[in-house]
């Protein structure tokens, strides 16, 4: 149990907080009433972070890169301040963390595949937060839970000193000094009769021979102690998700929640969700119909390049293609008048009469000037990947997903070889596509084609973020070009204008 130490200022802060610790094992669901908007936005924010983590794994990024990207994402969407940071509304942050975790549990408990991916991403997030934890806070947190370990007596340490040293891989000094409590150091899970834990608590360490085993007990050095904690977190979450899955049929009756959950789990499958409504204002400049062709060659993701080329080639485009491309252009900065000009020129097989009657209305509609006057957002990668599968005469969709491998390779090389993509890059991209990680493939192409701006592998479209929206792709690309011509751009990484 938590032992009250000498009174210190921090202890007072602890006691005032509803959430005493920054780290959370998520043992108990949030009991406060949750407003439905928070329910979804909190979850979406967490989802962005988890999707980035998963993407980083798919890209085989080194641990340091994964950690850094995740920290960047957390700063934006899921800030979690240290208890010593007195200026922040810590309870609010921690509540958001708590609620969002539990909402996503509901969304991700439903298939084994989703559970597996969720557990991996969540455990990684926990590991990263754990690594950044303040040592004092970490000790308090660890003491607040029962991890079923006991410290090895010094007599026992003496008895097995050689073996312990060998298991630690280094001389005794480092072996004994690293860790939480500077003095007591080696912990071991307990054995049966004595309320103790077996070697099966640390299978990863056993497999790598990083512990000393005796009679079924693992002696774990403090250096490896985190292994027990992560394994415990993971096992705990796996079990909880299975229980939630069993309880979920009852939840299906709540019609407000189910569509949100569907949306959330789909978002994860498509590599995160993204709305990109602010790109126009961010770039601040309007574009004209004449500029589209040039911009398409320099800044469009493959899906939009493909639509643009199809329009030029066929001088016509079917409904879903016009919808996907038209909304994209709107958000890119094409005004309604320029849009009408653009489409009038593009759809040159159509008579003026017919165009004005049918197509013009649709364009005005999509700009919110007709019908129910809604401001329709452009389609995100998730929507493009999951909805309205293209038929044989269609050009919409995502080339990474909807093209045959041969066609995709040809298309990519013809679209992007002028920007530095070579056939040597193709195998890597095709490998990612084969794994079903289309947005990762698109991100990789962005990196390769923007190398001249200093973009490197794992930079993504900036800050290691991967592509989740065609307009994000185009906006980031234009930003880079702008930065290169004007020198430095004063903009925060989100594409929003920095407020000061």
């Amino acid at each position: 149990m938590y032992k009250v130490q000498k009174k210190k200022p921090e202890v007072d802060i602890h006691s005032q907080l509803k959430y005493r610790f920054r780290l959370n094992f998520y043992d108990k669901p949030p009991l406060d009433d949750i407003i439905i908007e928070d329910f979804e936005t909190f979850a979406l924010d967490r989802l962005r972070v988890l999707a980035e983590i998963e993407t980083a794994f798919v890209r085989n990024s080194p641990w340091e890169t994964i950690k850094k990207h995740t920290e960047d994402q957390c700063r934006k969407y899921l800030e979690l301040g240290h208890t010593t940071a007195k200026t922040k509304d810590l309870d609010r942050e921690r509540q958001k963390d708590h609620i969002s975790h539990f909402v996503l549990r509901l969304a991700f408990c439903r298939t084994e595949e989703l559970r597996r991916r969720f557990v991996k991403a969540e455990t990684t997030l926990f590991r990263i937060r754990y690594a950044n934890e303040d040592p004092q806070e970490l000790i308090s947190f660890l003491k607040s839970r029962d991890f079923d370990w006991v410290e090895v007596s010094s007599a026992e340490i003496e008895q097995y000193r050689d073996q312990l040293d060998a298991a630690g891989g280094k001389g005794s000094d480092t072996f004994y000094k690293v860790g939480l409590n500077r003095d007591a150091v080696v912990v071991f899970p307990e054995v049966i009769g004595l309320h103790q834990v077996k070697w099966t608590r640390v299978p990863d360490l056993v497999e790598k021979r990083k512990v000393f085993l005796k009679g079924g007990m693992a002696y774990v050095s403090s250096k490896e102690q985190s292994s027990i904690i992560f394994q415990s977190f993971q096992a705990h979450l796996e079990k909880a998700l299975e229980l939630t899955a069993k309880a979920l049929p009852r939840l299906d009756e709540d019609t407000r929640i189910v569509p949100i959950l569907d949306h959330l789990s789909q978002g994860f499958l498509a590599g995160g969700t993204s709305e990109w409504n602010n790109a126009t204002s961010a770039n601040g400049d309007e574009i004209t119909a004449d500029m589209v062709d040039d911009i398409s060659r320099k800044h469009f993701p493959a899906c939009m390049r493909n639509l643009h080329n199809a329009l030029k080639r066929d001088r016509h485009m079917k409904h879903f293609g016009r919808l996907q491309y038209g909304l994209f252009l709107k958000v890119l900065g094409l005004s309604i008048d320029e849009a009408i000009t653009f489409w009038r020129r593009g759809m040159s097989t159509i008579q003026d009469d017919k165009f004005n009657k049918e197509y013009k209305y649709n364009i005005r509609h999509s700009y919110g000037l007709e019908g129910k006057r809604a401001n329709y957002p452009a389609k995100s990668c998730q929507q493009i990947l999951m909805n309205d599968q293209p038929g044989s005469g269609d050009s919409h969709g995502c080339p990474y997903r909807h093209f045959s491998p041969e066609n995709l390779q040809t298309a990519l090389l013809s679209m992007y070889s002028s920007q530095g993509l070579t056939s040597a890059d193709i195998p890597e991209i095709m490998q990612i596509v084969k794994g079903g990680h289309y947005h990762v493939a698109c991100t990789r192409v962005f990196e390769i084609t923007h190398a001249k701006y200093g973009i490197r592998k794992d930079n993504g479209v900036g800050d290691g973020e991967s592509v989740t929206h065609p307009n994000q792709y185009a906006a980031k690309s234009r930003e880079l070009e702008l930065g290169a011509t004007k020198g430095a751009v004063k903009k925060d990484t989100d594409g929003d204008v920095a407020m000061s």
């Binding site: 060998a166 298991a167 891989g169 299978p203 497999e207 021979r209 085993l213 005796k214 079924g216």
Partner: protein, 394 residues
């Protein structure tokens, strides 16, 4: 090795009827007298003549098993896991209600994995000399598992031709998940890499001592290396052999020196060549990095030529089937008898009785006995033929 006697169906049937210890097998699998799920939910798989393979059989008790064995007269049968439902009901239960839940932790060591380091036999061949590799494997694993994992109920069984099986029946061992088995096998697996990999022992992180699991075994392995491998197997005598050794020495200058010397000494024995290598090590300054590197390399070489070589896949999955003890090996006719690890050196695979010999002796014994007072020639007599049946559960 004498060529195998012909295994006729009649011979097999007589063996099952008169000699096979069904009650002992039942007791060993079931852990107690009255049948439990450990037996009734256990999979048995039969191999019949003509390679017909019958899976998912299960039985009420020893008598039930015996009846079926006598009816089918299989060439051999295998034991699988305890499932969450009776295997014979597999077709009628939902798939999610039919999962392996318990299983002995099993290991399989096969002589063919030693072909790259043994010189006396190859492929299916085995003799008393190369059996020493199996002996040391048994000693190292038996000691290691008892010490490190604390398991107590270990049954070693000769596989009938050129290998040995280990069955561990401790409750905790039976409950291990596949992931945990994989972790344990990872701990136990030291020799890794196929034909293209020269250095198969990679257990150190940098220039560090061996992990503790190996330190315990090191004494045994070293002794085996110097007292058996070098003088008997003589693995470094041939050019191919000593070139393989040089591949494992991570110091170009030493390798060059030895290669020059050995090219001119085609008749040197492995012991002499090993001494050459050791002399070079001793010439290096004590405590120097180079000396440490070479010393560790020498340790790793001794390990590579002696450490148990496991068939890891057998151990990792609960639903893997393994031939039941006391079955007959179809190629050799020899009975898969349990082996006492304490006397493993005295075990001679060439002297394990064949079915025909056993039945012949039994006939003789029965005849002798009936001359006196007419006893039955039942199962308990199998003890006379040197079978070692661990009685921990019986």
């Amino acid at each position: 090795m004498s060529s195998a006697e012909e295994l006729t169906p009649e011979l097999m049937l007589a063996f099952y009827r008169r000699l096979y210890p069904f009650k002992s097998i039942f007791g060993w699998l079931n852990h107690e007298l009255a049948p439990t799920k450990l037996f009734t939910h256990r999979e048995f798989a039969f191999t019949l003549a003509g390679d017909v393979y019958l899976r998912y059989n299960s039985f009420k008790d020893a008598e039930d098993l015996k009846k079926q064995v006598l009816a089918l007269n299989p060439t051999r049968f295998e034991i699988g896991p305890v499932y969450s439902a009776r295997p014979r009901d597999k077709k009628t239960v939902l798939a999610i209600n039919f999962k392996p839940i318990l299983r002995e932790l099993v290991f399989d060591i096969d002589m063919t994995d030693y072909d790259s380091i043994r010189t006396c036999c190859s492929d299916a061949g085995i003799c008393r000399r190369c059996w020493n590799f199996i002996s040391v494997a048994v000693r190292v694993l038996d000691q290691g598992i008892r010490d490190q994992y604390g398991y107590k109920h270990l049954l070693w069984v000769y596989s009938g031709r050129r290998g040995i099986h280990l069955w561990i029946s401790d409750k905790e061992a039976m409950e291990l998940t596949d992931d945990e088995r994989k972790a344990l096998v990872g701990w136990m697996t030291v020799i890794q890499g196929g034909k293209d990999v020269h250095k198969k022992v990679n257990v150190r992180t940098g220039l560090s001592p061996l992990p503790p699991s190996l330190q315990l075994a090191l004494e045994t392995l070293r002794t085996t290396f110097s007292e058996f491998v070098l003088p008997d197997q003589d693995p470094f005598h041939s050019t191919e052999g000593w070139e393989a050794l040089l591949q494992l020495i991570p110091h170009a200058e030493t390798v060059k020196k030895l290669r020059d010397d050995w090219s001119d000494a085609p008749y040197s024995t492995s012991e002499e060549r090993w001494d050459d290598f050791k002399r070079i090590i001793q010439k290096q300054e004590k405590g120097s990095r180079l000396r440490k590197t070479l010393e560790y390399a020498a340790e790793d070489i001794a390990i590579q030529y002696t450490y148990p070589r496991l068939d890891a896949e057998v151990s990792k999955h609960r639903n893997h089937l393994l031939k039941a003890p006391f079955c007959v090996h179809p190629k050799t006719s020899r009975v898969c008898v349990p082996v006492d690890p304490a006397n493993i050196e005295r075990f001679d695979p060439g002297r394990v009785p064949t079915v025909g010999q056993l039945l012949g002796e039994l006939d003789k014994a029965v005849a002798d006995a009936s001359d006196k007072e007419g006893q039955d020639g039942g199962e308990h007599r199998s003890g006379e033929y040197g079978f070692y049946v661990p009685c921990s559960y019986i």
